[in-house]
């Protein structure tokens, strides 16, 4: 998979404050990446630099190989941005707002009409197309914002806190829409949020951002496992009967096992790779009954708090 968005040592300093500290990030095509972090961590600043709306103090950013500062227009044609607290022109209808976006993207009237209708249909706002946006609820505005993202048929979308202040139903709708975008249009999505449970639901990979630094990067499962083992790789809990020395020896003999520890009534097997099938086979091979087999992992909330606290 090609890296569609890439940053190298990207830094932004505002006077005394370092908002983004030597960030190295890659986004692969077709993935949903979650930029996780508390408010003020530098997530929005990173997105602004990727869009070319803010000049980096140091380092580079590239979107589809293009420099957002130099090839600003080209980048803005392939990237859509949904800002935090997105706003619309309240006196103009939903259709009108989207038509303005289409016009700024130099999309002809006829084609724009088709795109707008399609986008509104996709987000479920077709019936309200000609109502003034001033009459929309927050959930509807967020959906309209997603429709706006779709108008230019972008390859990449940067969504800054898209589910903020939405009711649970609204949140579901937005998350479903995001998944649909990736599924049906193959879009690459960078999602920035501090709402862990939602990020967990749809992101392939996450990056935890604290005070401008990326303190963790990877798949959620991967990170959870790493954290659970305190950096020792993967730890599998095995509960078996009987817990004999033969069993322990058999487990140690499995190729790739680094160590077997005894923890009360369970055995903790640490390894680098995924070995659960082999371990299960080893248990039955040693004549014991397998009662419990679990890969130790930690939930996203704990991952987040652990890294957050460490900074």
């Amino acid at each position: 998979m090609a890296a569609l968005v890439e940053t190298q040592q990207l830094t932004k300093v505002y006077g005394e404050r370092t908002a983004v500290d030597h960030l190295n990030l890659t986004l692969n095509e077709g993935e949903i990446f979650g930029l996780l972090g508390p408010n003020g961590a530098g997530k929005t600043t990173t997105i602004l630099m990727l869009l070319g709306l803010t000049e980096p103090t140091e380092g580079t950013a590239a979107v589809a190989g293009l420099n957002p500062q130099k090839d600003a227009l080209k980048v803005k044609r392939l990237v859509s941005y949904l800002p935090e607290n997105v706003g619309f022109y309240d006196d103009i209808s939903a259709y009108g707002n989207l038509a303005y976006t289409a016009e700024l993207n130099r999309i002809g009237r006829k084609q724009a009409q088709d795109l707008i209708e399609e986008a509104l249909d996709e987000v479920g706002l077709s019936e309200r197309a000609f109502d003034k946006v001033g009459t929309f609820s927050r959930g509807m505005r967020q959906r309209l914002a997603i429709a706006d993202v779709l108008i230019k048929r972008p390859r990449v979308a940067f969504l800054d806190e898209p589910t903020l202040a939405l009711d649970p139903d609204g949140v579901n709708q937005i998350l479903e829409l995001i998944l649909k975008l990736r599924r049906e249009r193959g879009m690459t999505i960078l999602l920035s949020s501090h709402l862990l449970e939602q990020v967990q639901r749809i992101c392939d990979r996450i990056g935890i951002f604290v005070k401008g630094k990326m303190v963790a990067l990877g798949g959620i499962e991967e990170l959870g496992v790493q954290l659970a083992s305190n950096g020792k790789g993967r730890v599998v809990e095995i509960g078996a009967e009987p817990l004999s020395d033969d069993l322990i020896a058999a487990l140690k003999a499995v190729k790739g096992v680094k160590g077997v520890e005894r923890a009360q009534k369970m055995l903790l097997v640490s390894s680098e790779k995924e070995l659960r099938p082999e371990l299960a086979a080893a248990v039955s091979g040693a004549g014991s009954k397998l009662l419990h087999l679990r890969l130790q992992t930690v939930g996203l909330e704990q991952i987040y708090f652990r890294y957050f606290k460490e900074s």
Binding site: T44, T45, L48, L51, L53, T54, A72, L73, K74, K76, R77, V79, S80, Y81, P83, N85, V86, G87, F88, Y89, D90, D91, Y100, T101, E103, L104, N105, R106, D148, K152
Partner: protein, 312 residues
């Protein structure tokens, strides 16, 4: 031109706005009243003295208590300010600026577009009111304009648009520097008040300090005093506009100076100036107004382009 979508949208917004409706209404009423007054007085004058020249122009310059020209000089800035004071900060407030700037448009297209749309709506308004005045006036006095008068009126129109454009640029600059639209509106109005009222007082004061005069002062001293006073007052675009329009619309006026020595007045050849001579008289004023407008817009342009999106 990439700014065209911005121009179109802003112009559409302005035309449909309540702001425009109110201002237009006020201007039309004021224009009609001023013209009516002017028309009446011209009729009386012409009845008394049928040999008068440049009658049509007087539609614009005469009037009791206020002539059309003076009310444009007074209300024009309001028109400019009204369409500029929330140009940028309202986008910020509404949260639309981030979305706007993430589209493939350059930042300068946005500010140029807004300024041009503002000028557009101002031009439309001025043109409308001019036609109303001309039409109503013609109906009242029955004397059609000569070609010379018509061209002078055209120049008046253009100079008025540039003058109002200055206030538009100023208001837009304030809209960039402040977060709240109300603040930029107040700042613009404060500048306007200063220019309209306080500059002359201020100029007089300074001139009085540098060239103090009494009733018995020598002529040179008085001339210097008045000269300095005028020059300081010329900081104000309102003063420049006043000078420019009075010469353009009154072909008999020969000098922009407020003070004419009796000996000079007696030496003058009676008659009116031709158009090019009138223009020559006030060309510095016109140039200065254009310069002020350009500088104002230039500063706004530069500020907008350099500002961080976060603070925008």
């Amino acid at each position: 031109m990439r700014a065209i979508p911005v121009i179109r949208k802003e112009l559409a917004d302005h035309l449909g706005s309540r702001r425009f409706a109110i201002l237009f209404f006020v201007i039309v009423i004021a224009g009609v009243l001023a013209t009516y007054q002017a028309g009446q007085s011209i009729r009386q004058d012409v009845t008394k003295d049928p040999e008068q020249t440049f009658v049509f122009l007087r539609l614009f310059t005469s009037g009791n208590p206020v002539s059309f020209v003076s009310f444009v000089a007074f209300l024009g800035p309001l028109l400019g300010i009204a369409f500029g004071f929330d140009a940028i900060n309202s986008e910020q407030q509404r949260g639309t600026l981030g979305r706007l700037l993430s589209q493939p448009v350059y930042r300068d297209d946005v500010i140029n577009g807004k300024f041009l749309a503002g000028l557009g709506i101002i031009s439309v308004t001025m043109l409308c009111i001019f036609f109303i005045v001309a039409g109503l006036g013609l109906r009242m006095i029955g004397v059609p304009p000569t070609a010379d008068e018509l061209i002078r009126i055209l120049f008046f129109l253009v100079i008025s648009i540039i003058y109002v454009g200055f206030w538009l640029a100023l208001a837009m600059l304030f809209s960039l520097l402040t977060k709240q639209a109300a603040t930029s509106a107040l700042a613009s109005l404060a500048v306007w008040l200063f220019m309209a009222i306080f500059v002359t007082i201020f100029a007089g004061f300074i001139a009085g300090v540098v060239y103090p005069t009494t009733d018995n002062s020598p002529a040179q001293q008085v001339l210097d005093h008045v000269g300095l006073q005028q020059n300081i007052a010329r900081i104000s675009p309102a003063a420049l506009y006043g000078e420019a329009t009075s010469a353009i619309l009154d072909p008999e006026e020969r000098t922009t100076s407020g003070l004419v020595l009796l000996s000079d007045a007696q030496a003058m050849v009676p008659g009116a100036l031709s158009l090019d001579q009138s223009l020559l008289l006030v060309w510095p004023d016109i140039t200065a107004t254009i310069a002020l407008t350009t500088i104002c817009f230039g500063v706004a342009y530069y500020t907008f382009l350099r500002q961080e999106v976060r603070t925008l």
